[in-house]
């Protein structure tokens, strides 16, 4: 069984992706043993009517996949009354996680807005998925150049919100393994593996970062789903690390939040 914490629905703005319809996406995930996929929406990057983006996402997740898709709402703290988007994610849609894109929404990790958002998410015991990049900055559309999220303030941020479950996503090399193991020590920080690179990349992460802080993520359908799957063939992890990364850690993450709510 696999829990994929990094999937997107709707349309990438710059080209059609294979499997970018919910039915096709679900079929492929299921075929490869993914039983649960935490899905955000590409619409969350550029749309301003975020409430509607999240409603559509929830409807898509209900309509397709018979429970395989778990909606992860978008929140943009630069929008007026974003707090109500967050409230709806939590109270109306019963979400466990939100996904944020600070580089596409124009705020930094050391801004007051980010502080407020993290505080509000922590108060509601929500998981925050922090996406560092959507594509290689070298091949972006000339009118749409978006830098990778500056992770320099990350240590201070994690220090300030040590209990907040924070998932670092699409991390090519912005946070290296050394810094990641420090972040894992001070905070409740997790790392999703879709962008782990270099030969044996996953193995290198497992050697330096606690294995229970690594989560399976594919960044499907932007990336080929097989990229994340084949990392488990290239890296020799053993059964325990494999199962805990592929599903156990994500289960525990949600379970721990749940048990905090009803002690």
């Amino acid at each position: 069984m696999i829990i994929d914490v990094n999937v997107y629905l709707s349309r990438w703005p710059f080209r059609r992706l294979p499997h970018d319809t919910p039915d096709s996406l679900v079929r492929k995930l299921r075929f490869h043993g993914v039983e649960q996929a935490w899905a955000g929406s590409f619409d969350g990057l550029l749309h301003k009517d975020i409430a509607n983006v999240n409603s559509r996402l929830v409807a898509d997740c209900k309509q397709h996949g018979e429970g395989l898709l778990v909606p992860v709402g978008a929140v943009n703290p630069t929008l007026p009354d974003w707090q109500d988007d967050l409230r709806r994610c939590h109270e109306v849609h019963q979400m466990r996680a939100i996904r944020i894109h600070p580089n596409y929404h124009g705020y930094s990790l050391d801004s007051a807005l980010c502080d407020e958002l993290f505080q509000a998410a922590q108060d509601r015991r929500l998981i925050v998925q922090l996406v560092l990049a959507m594509e290689d900055v070298r091949v972006q559309h000339p009118l749409m150049r978006v830098a990778v999220v500056d992770t320099a303030p990350l240590a201070a941020l994690v220090n300030k919100f040590p209990r907040l479950p924070l998932v670092i996503m699409n991390n090519s090399a912005a946070v290296r393994t050394g810094q990641a193991s420090e972040l894992a020590k001070v905070g409740n920080t997790f790392f999703e593996l879709s962008h782990f690179e270099s030969v044996g990349g996953l193995e290198n992460w497992v050697k330096e970062v606690p294995v229970e802080r690594i989560l399976f993520g594919s960044y499907f359908p932007f990336f080929n789903l097989e990229a994340a799957l084949l990392k488990f063939q290239e890296s020799q992890l053993g059964g325990f690390a494999t199962t805990t990364i592929q599903a156990g850690n994500a289960k525990d993450l949600v379970f721990d939040l749940h048990s905090q709510e009803s002690p």
């Binding site: 990229a227 325990f240 494999t242 805990t244």
Partner: protein, 309 residues
């Protein structure tokens, strides 16, 4: 999820991991054994896939010598069932090598070819800023040596006519020409070629097979740039596993002009092979891209050297 579910889940999954860090809290996870089989790898490449990798370097692993590094890289290649690997450039490498420097790096490659003649192939690293010395290096490494192609990196843009004598000589020897290409919106290096530069080269040397390395990385543009030139194949290595790359290449160029390569060790076999395995193409097309095309293109020069495929 109920806590009993969680416990039973852990009891069935508890098994070994060698060398991993188990520590930040969660004592349940500490109960592990050491003898677990490699479980739950849900999608795997197969030993029958006959994978040949166009694009390998000595990076991404540790080792004092390139032999030590190649040995480690071969361990990963074995896990992925990659049969043959083409290496070019030594360790450490340099962007604009003087002739003595590219000769040193080629000597390193020649060393590993000798050690693993059945697994490794080599392309000679050249710098088009030194056409005469590069031509001499073709003689040394290919005509009089075991190498089967050349690698041109970022020494000089390939649209210059000064490159043509090198290309013509490769044509005579049936040696493959691998030209790195990139289209960076952030700006190319001074000597870095674009796929459009390669298209100019291809127009002047229409009989010589050329490989558009990285396909410009922005493959949506790279594929278009070389589409008109049937002597140009595209290498898919060294970029993120963005879905749709191989489908577009097959649609616009035909599967015969698409070559799998990884660009290890900066990249992983996993991410680069996924571009081929994840693509919506036929099995026959996949076989060509994973190695069939490369074997076809290399057959004349390998035959002339008495090398087995």
């Amino acid at each position: 999820m109920q806590s009993t579910d969680r416990r039973s889940f852990l009891s069935t999954s508890a098994a070994g991991v060698v060398g991993c860090v188990v520590g930040a809290g969660n004592s349940n996870l500490a109960a592990v054994a050491d003898d677990a089989p490699l479980a739950n790898a849900p999608f795997r490449t197969s030993e029958h896939d006959a994978i040949w990798d166009l694009h390998c370097h000595f990076s991404g692993v540790t080792g004092d010598t390139v032999e030590q590094r190649a040995a480690k890289l071969l361990e990963y290649a074995d896990r992925m069932y990659v049969q043959r690997l083409i290496f070019f450039m030594g360790w450490p490498w340099s962007y604009t090598p003087e002739p003595a420097e590219f000769r040193r790096q080629n000597d390193q490659v020649l060393g590993v070819l000798q050690r693993w003649p059945d697994r490794l192939l080599g392309f000679a690293y050249l710098n088009a800023s030194f056409p005469d010395e590069s031509l001499a290096e073709i003689e040394r490494c290919i005509q009089n040596g075991p190498m089967v192609g050349v690698k041109l990196w970022v020494g000089r843009r390939c649209n210059t006519e000064d490159v043509d004598p090198l290309i013509r000589r490769c044509g005579e020897l049936n040696a493959l020409v691998f030209q790195h290409t990139y289209l960076k919106i952030t700006g190319n290096l001074p000597g870095e070629s674009t796929p459009q530069d390669l298209a100019e080269l291809a127009a002047r040397n229409s009989k010589v097979p050329l490989i558009c390395g990285h396909c410009g990385a922005d493959w949506t543009l790279g594929i278009r740039a070389v589409r008109q030139f049937p002597n140009v194949s595209v290498g898919i290595s060294g970029s993120d596993p963005t879905a749709g790359f191989v489908e577009m290449a097959v649609r616009e160029l035909g599967a015969e002009r698409v070559l799998y390569g990884s660009d290890i060790g900066g990249r992983s076999f996993a991410s680069q092979l996924a571009k081929v395995y994840g693509a919506d193409i036929t099995d026959a097309q996949r076989t060509l891209i994973l190695g069939g095309n490369l074997r076809r293109m290399l057959k004349p020069i390998m035959d002339s050297k008495g090398m087995q495929q």
